[in-house]
């Protein structure tokens, strides 16, 4: 042990040889990742920004540097494009409907599971199942469940005498129908995070509140919720980030219809790419990126301590 102490002691005084060795080794270890990352992640992020200021089209694909700069034209055009406005609205609606619903369901289930003594692990795994499945595959299944005639939902509604609507054929119902599926598909992640958060609340706090005469609801409202605040905010942000990018469910279930009522910002970008309007697509994707950055910024701004909360929860 004393050798270790001496050795570290000397190391800090005559740093150079070991230090250099360490730095060389570190960069050797980092190199494969850094190269791949630079070429396939960081590069494209910057290239996309550059592209958004050009008139690049599919015909320029072999010669991407021969395109004309057009300044902010793409962005100006986007803001004036009625379809882009519509998809922005759809995306926001999806976010505003989806996030609170997902959080409410996740919190209810988490609080429930947190109160039971048996089957905890079983329930947690069961409720989490949809999260690991492919959105494309579950969209195919839900499209089948949503069918007008013979679909599961309308059959069940039929039992109580309600003639169910064509969920995915209506411009007002299609988007909420996709949201409902998204809630089902995604709440499991938040449930697990909330459960971890709930377990960090010391039971003494709850007991103290009870001694003071607080009822179950008011303990939940005034003790549990405030103590869970960082976890809840974090959950809202990561769910929001996912919902801002929704695409697959619309692609499979509605093809963005009826009348573009389920076309999202990502879908719009994908379409523009398909039409060969690369510069325009890049600009649209960057506006979406801006929304993502804003949301992430909110996260860093409001909840620096979230790692602590979740990690502590895991160690219980």
């Amino acid at each position: 042990m004393s050798t270790v102490a001496t050795r570290t002691g000397t190391r800090t005084r005559h740093v150079d040889p070991t230090r250099r060795q360490q730095a060389v080794a570190a960069w050797a270890l980092a190199l494969p990742f850094v190269l791949l990352f630079a070429v396939f992640s960081l590069g494209p992020v910057l290239a996309s920004l550059g592209m958004s200021f050009t008139d690049m089209r599919r015909t320029d694909i072999r010669d991407p540097f021969a395109v004309n700069p057009v300044g902010l034209d793409n962005y100006v055009q986007l803001v004036q494009d009625p379809l882009f406005r519509k998809v922005t609205l759809n995306t926001l609606l999806y976010l505003l409907l989806g996030v609170p619903l997902t959080m409410a369901v996740a919190l209810l289930v988490a609080v429930g599971i947190n109160r039971v003594e048996r089957f905890r692990g079983f329930l947690r795994v069961g409720y989490y199942l949809p999260v690991v499945t492919s959105i494309v595959a579950v969209s195919v299944v839900w499209k089948f469940l949503y069918r007008d005639n013979g679909g599961l939902f309308n059959t069940i509604l039929g039992w109580v005498g309600i003639d169910g609507p064509g969920w995915l054929d209506s411009t007002t119902l299609a988007l909420p129908s996709l949201v409902l599926m998204a809630v089902w598909r995604n709440f499991g992640t938040l449930m697990v995070i909330f459960l971890a958060g709930l377990q960090t609340i010391p039971q003494e706090v709850n007991e103290a509140a009870e001694v003071d005469g607080a009822s179950g609801w008011s303990r939940f409202r005034h003790v549990t919720l405030p103590m869970l605040r960082p976890t809840l905010l974090f959950g809202a942000v990561i769910t929001g980030l996912g919902y801002l990018q929704f695409f697959e469910e619309a692609f499979v279930m509605t093809k963005g219809g009826p009348l573009d009522s389920t076309r999202s910002a990502t879908y719009f970008t994908f379409d523009q790419f398909g039409f060969g309007n690369y510069g325009y697509a890049a600009a649209a994707s960057y506006l979406l990126f801006l929304a993502v950055v804003l949301l992430t910024w909110v996260q860093f701004r409001w909840l620096g301590e979230r790692d602590e909360t979740t990690v502590k929860g895991a160690k219980r």
Binding site: T3, A23, V24, A25, A26, L29, A30, P32, F33, L36, F37, V39, F40, S41, V45, M51, R62, I113, R115, V116, E117, R118, F119, G126, Y127, Y128, L129, T133, S134, I135, V136, V138, S139, V140, V141, K143, F144, N149, G150, L152, T155, G158, W184, Q199, I201, N206, S215, W217, L241, L244, Q245, E248, V252, K255, A265, T269, F273, S285, V292, R306
Partner: protein
Amino acid sequence: MSTLTAERQAAPPKAPASRGGGEWRRTPTWLYGVLFAGLFLVVVPFVWMLLSSLKPEAEVRAVPPTWWPETITLDNYSTLFTKLDFPTYFLNSAIVALAVTAGNMVFCSMLGYALAKLDFPGKKALFAIVLGTLMIPGVVTFVPLFVLTTNIGLSNTLLGMVLPFLAGPFGVFLMRQFIQALPDELIQAARIDGAGELRIFFSVILPLCGPALATLGILTFLTSWNNFLWPLVVAQTEEKYTLPVALALYSVGQNATQYGLLLAGSVVVVLPVLAIFLVLQRHIMQGIAMTGIK
């Protein structure tokens, strides 16, 4: 909510304290009822998918629908695997997912170790950049990535599908978190024994990373298996489709009304990951709690 309040007030005020934060009160029976009913609702779509995929096409479309299949048949599956090219799609999905998983396990643990335990110039900046890209949506990069892969001759190849996902920031974050918690003394002792820096990583640190590597491996595999946008962009001919791409394109194309077939296809996509998840769920739950994402 009133039921909940009443229930709690009716219980004796001094329940014996037990372990977890929430377990300070005896569980009311109705709560089990509610939780299991909820679980049933969550699982119903999967059950419905499986049962319907075993029905002949005419029965799949029956109004009102049958619950238990009147005729059980594997016709839909045999069509998928003989008339359509699902064996190829399955293989493509597996190859891509395994390659991406292997790459992430190797490259992310290497960088994760360097960031956690070694001192080098540029370390802080590197970590900040990697962390900063954690949230970048795939939609931002796919257009320039497509231009790039086309120009280096990788469009419509599996390699083109793999490369952009070979080194993800999530894995670095996870591995760094894990390795940081390993004791420094291990590394110092190995240095005293004269082990080189790279050797320390491969023979001292890596063997201890089992749990984190398992978590990373499973999460990466699942994510890659379900990945859609990029494979959709890269794959241009049918023999390069992955399962989600094939399923999505069939479901909006000429097979759009063959529900039995499409549901069987969904089963083929979903069943392997459900099986993997159920067997290895412990690692996944750890990963979510550790990083708070995915």
